[in-house]
Symmetry: C4
Subunit: 194 residues, 4 copies
C-alpha cells in the first residue's frame, strides 16, 4: 500500500474538520455590531482550533515524508489520530459557547492530550518503518521534544482549568505558538535531506 491515498484521505478529513468549525459561528439575525458580541469567544476558540488542526496537518505531512510503504498498523494509528482530532470541533464549540468556563476548558485539554498521544503512537509506527534517513531522524528528534513539552502542558492545563480557566487557555495559546513559529533546527535537518 503506498502512502498517497493515506495522505489524500487525511488531508480530506483535516480540511473538513478545519472548515466545519466555521459552521458553529451561527449567523446573528440583527445587523448591529452588538449582535456579533456573543460570537467573540466562539470566534477566538475557532482561531485557536484552526491553528491546532493546521499544525497537525503540517506535522503529519513532515512525518509521512520518510515513509514509502504504509502498514496496517499505520492505517489504524492514523484513523485513531483522525478520530480524536474530529472531536476538536465539538470541544471548540463547547468552549466558545460557554465563554471559557472550567469544564469545557478541561475537556479541550483532554482532547488535545488524546490527539497528541495518538500522534505519538502513529509516529512510533512510522519511525519503525523509516529508519534509514539520518536527517529526518534528527528532525523527528526535535519534533519529539516539542511533542513531549506539549503533552506535559496539556496534562497540566486540565486541573489548572479548575483553578483559573484562563491559565489553561494561555497554555493552549503558548503551545500553538511554539509549533507555529518555524523551528530553525527542524528546517535545517529537513533541508539536509535534499
Amino acid at each position: 500500500m503506498n502512502k498517497n491515498r493515506l495522505e489524500a484521505f487525511s488531508d480530506g478529513v483535516l480540511a473538513i474538520i478545519i472548515t466545519i468549525m466555521v459552521l458553529e459561528i451561527k449567523i446573528p439575525h440583527g445587523s448591529d455590531w452588538l449582535a456579533l458580541k456573543p460570537l467573540i469567544p466562539i470566534f477566538i476558540s475557532y482561531g485557536l482550533s484552526f491553528a491546532y488542526i493546521g499544525i497537525y496537518w503540517g506535522n503529519h505531512h513532515h512525518m509521512l515524508q520518510s515513509v514509502r510503504q504504509v502498514t496496517s498498523k499505520m492505517i489504524l494509528a492514523n484513523l485513531n489520530l483522525l478520530f480524536w482530532l474530529s472531536m476538536v470541533p465539538f470541544a471548540t464549540g463547547w468552549m466558545g459557547e460557554n465563554e471559557f468556563k472550567s469544564n469545557p476548558m478541561a475537556l479541550y485539554g483532554i482532547i488535545l492530550f488524546l490527539s497528541g498521544a495518538s500522534y505519538s503512537i502513529l509516529q512510533k509506527s512510522v519511525e519503525r518503518n523509516a529508519h534509514e534517513i539520518e536527517s529526518l531522524k534528527l528532525a523527528y528528534k526535535f519534533m519529539n521534544q516539542k511533542g513531549k513539552i506539549s503533552t506535559i502542558a496539556y496534562l497540566a492545563s486540565i486541573p489548572l482549568a479548575y483553578l483559573e480557566p484562563y491559565i489553561s487557555f494561555s497554555i493552549y495559546i503558548i503551545v500553538a505558538i511554539m509549533w507555529l513559529v518555524p523551528d530553525k533546527n527542524i528546517e535545517k535537518a529537513l533541508k539536509a535531506k535534499d
Copy 2:
C-alpha cells in the same frame, strides 16, 4: 479511464461522510459535565460508525490496487456503494438519538448489510478486470471470507435487535474489531506482491 480520479472522488466522499457525523453531536448550552450525559450514546454510535467508514476506506484502497483501467460498471458499482455508505450518518444519528432502541438498531444493520452487499458487487466487477496478480487473489480470498462472515452477522443482527438491541450492538462491535485487527494472512499476501 484511469483509477486515480475514482480513488480521489471516493476518498473525498468517505472523508466527508466520516467527518459530518460529528455535526450530529450537538453542542450543549450548559457547561456542566451532566450536560454531556445525553451525548454519550451519540458519541458511542459515532465511534462505531467512524470505525466502519475507516474500514471501508482501507478495504476500498486495497481492492483498487490491482486495477489499472476503470470500467463504467465499476463506476456505477462504486457510486452505489458510496450511496449506501452515505446513509450511515443518518442511521448512526437515529441510533444515538434513541439510545439504542430496536428499530434504529435494526436499521443500522440493514444499512451495514446493504453497504456490504454493494461492496461485494464492486469487488466482483474489480476481480473480473484484475485477475493477473496471484498474491492479490489470495488477499482477496481472505477478505471475501471476512466479508461473508460480516454479511451473515449483519443479517442476523436485524431480527436480534427485536429480541435485545444490545446483542445486535455487540455484533456490530465484534465485526468492526474483526476488520480492525490487522490480518496476518492478508498482510502476507499483499507483501508478496512487491
Copy 3:
C-alpha cells in the same frame, strides 16, 4: 496550467455537494418506523440527486481526459458549472420537503437545465482545445446526443410540472437511467483510444 488541480478541485466540490445533501435528511426524535415516514420523499429526492451528481462527476472525468492544458475560459466555465450544481442540494431539499409539488418540481428542472447548459459551455471550450484524438471525438458525439435529449427533457418537464408533477419526476428518473446505463457506443469509442 495543468488539469490535475482542476480535477482535484472539481472532485472536492462534487464530493461535498453529493454528501451534504444527506444533512437535509433530519434525524427524527422517535424510534418508531412511522417517524421515518415523512422522510420518504426526502430520501427519494436524495437518491435522484445523488445519481445526477454522480453522472456529472463521471462525464466530467471522461471529458477532461483529452485535455492537457487548461485555459482561463475552461476554469470560468467549470466554476459556472459547479455553481449551478451546488444549487442541486437546495432544489432537492425543496422538492423533498414539499412532497413533489409543482413549483419545487419545476425549480428542479430549471436547475438541471442550467447545469446541463453550463456543461455544454464547458464541453465546447474543452473540444476547442482537444481536437486531436479521433476516438474521443466519437465518444463526445454520442455524449452530445444524450446531452441534447436531456436538455429537451428538462425544458419539457418545467411546464409539465404544472400539469402533473409526477410526469416531470418520471422524466428526471428516465434521464438519469439513460445516463447511468453504460453506453456501448461510448465505451467502445473510449476503448479505441488506448
Copy 4:
C-alpha cells in the same frame, strides 16, 4: 516538503468553503414561489462569494506553479490565508440575512481586505523562493497590479458602506468581474512559460 500536499489541502479547504455556503440557503417549508423571496439576497450573496472563492482558487493555483519547495513560512502564510477565507461564509451569511445593510456590508469588505492582504503575504514568500522563471514574474507583475487595485477598492468600500451600502456592493461585484474576465497579459505571460 513538496507542494503537492499544500495544494491538495488548500483545494480541499477551498472546496469546502465554497460549498458549505450553500447550507446557509435554508429550505423554506412552503412550496410557493413567494417562499423563496426572502432567499433572494442570500442567493445573490452566495453567488458573489462563490465567485470570490473561485477566483482565489484560480490565482492560488497560478501562484504555486513556480514553486518547487515549500518552506515553513509559506505553510504559515497559506494557513493564514485559508483562515481569513474561511470567514467568507460567515460574512456572506450576515450580509444576505440582513439584506445588504451597512454593517454586514462593511464586514464583508473587511474580510475581503484581510484575505487580500494575507494573499499578498503568501505571494511575497512564494516570490522569494521562485525567482527563476522570467515569464511567471511578468504574470505576477500583472496580478500584483490587480491585487493593489482590489486592496484599495476593498478599503474604500468599508466607509462607503455607511454612505450607501449598494456602492460597496457594486465595488465588490466590479472587482470580482475584473478578476473573472480572462486577462490577455497574464495568459500570454503564462503561455510563454511552456
